[in-house]
C-alpha cells in the first residue's frame, strides 16, 4: 500500500509539472547594448530534463538540468578565447512562459579579481 501511494504521488507530481519540451526563445536587453537573443531546446521526460542552448555557430549542452513542478534550473558553460564562464539559469515556468535568472560564476582565470556579476532576468516564450 505505501508503495502504491508513493507511486500515485509521484504520478501526480509528474502530471502537475510543466512540460517544457520544445524550443524556447527570448531577448535580453541592456542599456547601451545591442539586444541579445537567447534560445534553448529542452527535452523533458517526466522529471528528467536535458537540452541545449543555441549559439552563433553551434549549440552548448545544458548541464545539471532539473525541473521540479514549475521550478527549472540548469547550467551552461561557455568558452571564448580561453576564458571559461559558467552560467546558472533558474526560474519558473508560468502562464505559458518562462522567467529565468542568469547568474555568472567567476571566470576560471580571474576568480579573485572578478566582481560578482549582477543577476539578470530573462523571459522566454515557447517558439515551437
Amino acid at each position: 500500500m505505501p508503495h502504491r501511494l508513493l507511486a500515485l504521488s509521484l504520478l501526480a507530481f509528474t502530471l502537475s509539472a510543466a512540460d517544457v519540451t520544445g524550443i524556447w526563445t527570448g531577448i535580453w536587453t541592456e542599456p547601451n547594448r545591442d539586444p541579445q537573443d537567447f534560445s534553448f531546446r529542452f527535452t523533458q521526460t517526466g522529471g528528467t530534463l536535458s537540452g541545449k542552448m543555441y549559439g552563433d555557430n553551434e549549440s552548448i549542452p545544458l548541464k545539471d538540468a532539473k525541473i521540479e513542478g514549475d521550478r527549472i534550473s540548469f547550467t551552461v558553460t561557455t568558452e571564448m578565447n580561453g576564458q571559461i564562464n559558467k552560467f546558472t539559469f533558474s526560474g519558473d515556468v508560468h502562464d505559458g512562459g518562462m522567467e529565468l535568472t542568469r547568474e555568472r560564476e567567476s571566470s576560471s582565470k580571474n576568480k579573485k579579481e572578478d566582481k560578482p556579476a549582477p543577476k539578470q532576468t530573462l523571459r522566454l516564450r515557447r517558439l515551437a
Binding site: 524550443i23 526563445t25 553551434e58
Partner: protein, 623 residues
C-alpha cells in the same frame, strides 16, 4: 510600373499617347509601322503582331521589347521621325502599366527558384561555418559578376565552368587539409577516430552522418552517402591515412552539386506549392545571412515548424538582430550603392585628398558607414525612408571630423568604433546622400560630377536610370577648347541648349547640382575655385530646390518611387535572380504592407518573406 518611375518627379505629364490601347496603336503607326509593317518588316517584327488588345496577355514579351527599345531611345532609329520625350515616356508608361495589370490579374506569383551556385562570399561563409574555421577559403576564387537586379547572387550568372570547378576543388582541399589539423574544426566536422570497436569505414560513416545533412542543408538518405563512402574506401585502398581518406571523402561532399548549388526539391505539379521547411531555412539564411542555416533553423525545420507564420516572423527578427546579418547587409548595400568599388577600382585622387590616401582607418570608416547604417536601420526597425534622410547616422571620431562635426558634442566621446548618433541641426549628413562613400563613388577621383551624381540618384535611389547617351555625341564635360566656360554649371548648361541632351539632362543635372556642396570625398564646401557653390536645381515639372536638404525633402515628399525601387532591389537579392514583370505584383503587396506598418524596415523583410514569391515554388502553371 517602372515606367511610372520614368516620369521622375514630374507631377503630371501631358499624355499625348498615354491613355488607351488605341493611342498606343496610333504611336506605333506614326513612328514604327513604316519599317515594321508590310510583307518584309524590319527585324522580323510587324506591328500587326501587337494590333489586338489581347496581345498584352499573349505577346507580353514582344510588348516588353518594344518598351525597352523605345524607352532607351534605340527606336525609332536616328534619321527618321522620332517622338519627343513626353510622347516617348507616356507611351512607355502606358505599356508598362498595361503589362503590369495583365501580369498581376491573378495576384502575386510563386518563385520559379532557378538553381544557382553559391557565390564566392556565400561559399566562404558556408565552409567557415561547416568547418568552424576562419580560413578565407574563397580567397583564390574569382569574383562573381553581377546579374539580375545588380547583385552577385543572381542565378543568371552563377554557373560553374570547368575552370571554376577546379578552383572550387582546390579551395575545398585547402580548407579540409587545414581543418583536419585543427582540433576545433575536427570537433565541428565530427571526426571520430577508428578504434578496436570502430572500424575506419564505420568511423567514416559516422562522420558523414553528421556532416552531410549540414553540408546539403537537408536530411540525407543512406543511399546519398554511398558515393562519398566509396571515395573513402578508394583512398583506403590506396593506403592513404585515415585523415587523408576523410579529407578525400569530404572533398567529394564539398564538390557535390548538392553542396555547391542552392536548389529546392522540384515541383512537378501544375500549381505552386510551399517550399519545404529545409528549403525555406536555406532561402532565409542565404538571404539574411549570406550563409548556411544555423542549428536552430535546422531544428525548426526538422520539427516542421518553420513554415508556421508566427515562428517565421520570430525567426526573421532573430536573424536580423544577429551579427550574421552583416553578411546580407554588406553584400546588399555595397552592391546596391556601388560603394564596393571604393578603394578598389575607384580611388579618390591622393594629391587632392591626402587624408584619404594616408589614413587607413578613415578609409575603413568611410567604407563601413553605409553598411553599419543599414544594419542599424534593420536591427532597430527604423523606417526605410531614413535611407533618404534621417536625424541620425553612424559616426566615428574621424568621420565626424571629416564632416566638420565636433566629435566632442556627443555623450561619451566618439572613438574608433562606429556609433549611432543623433545629428546636430544643420549637419547635412542625414540619410545615404550625406555619406562620404556614396558621394565619392558618384564623383570622379579628382572632382565632382553633377551628371554622375544625378545619374546615381536616378539609378540607385529611384530605380529610373536614364537611357544611355545617344551614339556619336561626345561627353560634354570632356569638351576642350579656349571658349570653354569656367564653372561646371556653365559647362553643363549647354545640355539645355542641345535638344538631343536636354530631355534627360533636365532631370539628371539638377539632382547633381543640389549635391555640389559636397566635394568628391563628401566634405562640405561653400565655394569652389574661389566662387560660391550654386546648389540650386529645378526639375522639369518646375520643382525648385537648393542644396541637399531641400532635395532630400523633395525625394521624401515623393517617396513612392524610392520605395518601389528599393523594394525591388531587396526582392531581387532575396530571390537571387532578376525580377520579371510577374514579380512586380509581389512588390505591390510588399509595399502595401510596408505602408501599413509605418515603413518600418523589418516590416519590409517580413512582408517579403511572407509573400508567396518567397515561400512558394512555382508549378508548371502559375500560380
Amino acid at each position: 510600373m517602372r515606367a511610372t518611375a520614368i516620369l521622375l518627379l514630374a507631377a503630371a505629364v501631358p499624355s499625348a499617347w498615354a491613355s488607351s490601347f488605341d493611342d498606343s496603336q496610333a504611336f506605333l503607326r506614326t513612328y514604327c509601322a513604316s519599317c515594321h509593317g508590310g510583307n518584309k518588316p524590319a527585324g522580323g517584327f510587324n506591328v500587326a503582331e501587337v494590333g489586338a488588345a489581347a496581345s498584352l496577355d499573349v505577346r507580353g514579351e514582344r510588348w516588353g521589347r518594344i518598351l525597352s527599345r523605345v524607352r532607351n531611345s534605340e527606336m525609332p532609329p536616328r534619321g527618321v521621325a522620332a517622338p519627343d520625350l513626353t510622347a516617348r515616356e507616356s507611351f512607355t508608361k502606358w505599356i508598362d502599366d498595361s503589362l503590369h495589370a495583365a501580369a498581376c490579374a491573378s495576384g502575386p506569383a510563386a518563385d520559379p527558384a532557378p538553381i544557382r551556385r553559391l557565390n564566392r562570399d556565400e561559399y566562404t561563409a558556408t565552409v567557415r561555418e561547416l568547418l568552424d574555421t576562419h580560413l578565407n577559403v574563397g580567397h583564390d576564387l574569382p569574383a562573381d559578376g553581377a546579374g539580375g537586379q545588380g547583385f552577385d547572387n543572381a542565378a543568371e550568372v552563377l554557373f560553374l565552368s570547368p575552370v571554376l570547378a577546379e578552383k572550387y576543388m582546390d579551395a575545398a582541399k585547402q580548407a579540409l587539409e587545414f581543418a583536419v589539423r585543427d582540433s576545433r574544426a575536427r570537433a565541428r566536422i565530427g571526426i571520430v577516430e577508428p578504434s578496436a570497436a570502430l572500424t575506419p569505414l564505420a568511423a567514416a560513416r559516422k562522420i558523414l552522418a553528421g556532416f552531410l545533412p549540414r553540408a546539403f542543408r537537408r536530411p540525407v538518405t543512406e543511399r546519398e552517402s554511398e558515393p562519398f563512402l566509396a571515395l573513402f574506401r578508394s583512398a583506403q585502398r590506396d593506403h592513404q591515412s585515415f585523415d587523408n581518406s576523410v579529407v578525400f571523402m569530404l572533398r567529394g561532399v564539398l564538390m557535390s552539386p548538392r553542396f555547391l548549388f542552392i536548389s529546392a526539391p522540384p515541383n512537378a505539379g501544375r500549381m505552386a506549392r510551399p517550399f519545404d521547411d529545409y528549403a525555406l531555412a536555406t532561402r532565409l539564411s542565404y538571404f539574411l545571412w549570406g550563409g548556411m542555416p544555423d542549428e536552430m533553423l535546422f531544428d525548426l525545420a526538422s520539427l516542421g515548424k518553420l513554415r508556421d507564420p508566427d515562428v517565421l516572423k520570430e525567426e526573421i527578427g532573430r536573424m536580423l538582430r544577429s551579427g550574421k546579418a552583416m553578411g546580407f547587409v554588406e553584400s546588399f548595400v555595397t552592391q546596391w550603392l556601388g560603394t564596393r568599388t571604393l578603394g578598389r577600382d575607384f580611388v579618390p585622387d591622393a594629391k587632392l585628398f591626402p587624408k584619404y590616401a594616408a589614413d587607413a582607418e578613415l578609409r575603413a570608416d568611410i567604407g563601413f558607414q553605409p553598411t553599419v547604417f543599414f544594419h542599424t536601420l534593420l536591427a532597430t526597425n527604423a523606417p526605410v525612408t531614413d535611407l533618404l534622410d534621417s536625424n541620425w547616422t553612424i559616426l566615428t571620431k574621424k568621420l565626424a571630423t571629416l564632416y566638420g562635426i565636433d566629435p566632442k558634442q556627443f555623450k561619451g566621446d566618439l572613438g574608433e568604433q562606429p556609433r549611432t548618433v543623433d545629428l546636430p541641426a544643420g549637419s547635412h549628413r542625414g540619410g545615404l546622400l550625406g555619406m562620404s562613400a556614396v558621394l565619392a563613388v558618384s564623383s570622379y577621383p579628382y572632382r565632382t560630377s553633377p551628371v554622375l551624381r544625378g545619374k546615381w540618384v536616378l539609378d540607385s535611389l529611384l530605380g529610373t536610370p536614364p537611357p544611355p547617351p545617344p551614339q556619336n555625341v561626345p561627353a560634354l564635360e570632356e569638351h576642350a577648347g579656349a571658349a570653354q566656360p569656367q564653372s561646371m554649371r556653365e559647362r553643363l548648361s549647354r545640355h539645355r541648349d542641345n535638344p538631343v541632351c536636354a530631355g534627360c539632362h533636365s532631370r539628371i543635372d539638377p539632382l547633381g547640382f543640389a549635391l555640389e556642396n559636397y566635394d568628391a570625398l563628401g566634405q562640405w564646401r561653400t565655394e569652389e575655385s574661389g566662387k560660391p557653390i550654386d546648389n540650386t536645381g529645378e526639375l522639369p515639372d518646375g520643382t525648385k530646390f537648393a542644396g541637399p536638404d531641400q532635395m532630400k525633402a523633395v525625394l521624401l515628399a515623393r517617396k513612392d518611387l524610392f520605395l518601389r525601387s528599393f523594394t525591388s532591389r531587396v526582392l531581387g537579392f532575396a530571390l537571387g535572380r532578376g525580377l520579371t514583370r510577374k514579380d512586380s505584383c509581389a512588390v505591390d503587396a510588399i509595399l502595401a504592407q510596408l505602408a501599413d506598418n509605418g515603413y518600418r524596415s523589418q516590416a519590409l523583410i517580413e512582408a517579403l518573406v511572407m509573400n508567396p514569391v518567397f515561400r512558394n515554388r512555382a508549378g508548371a502553371e502559375q500560380p
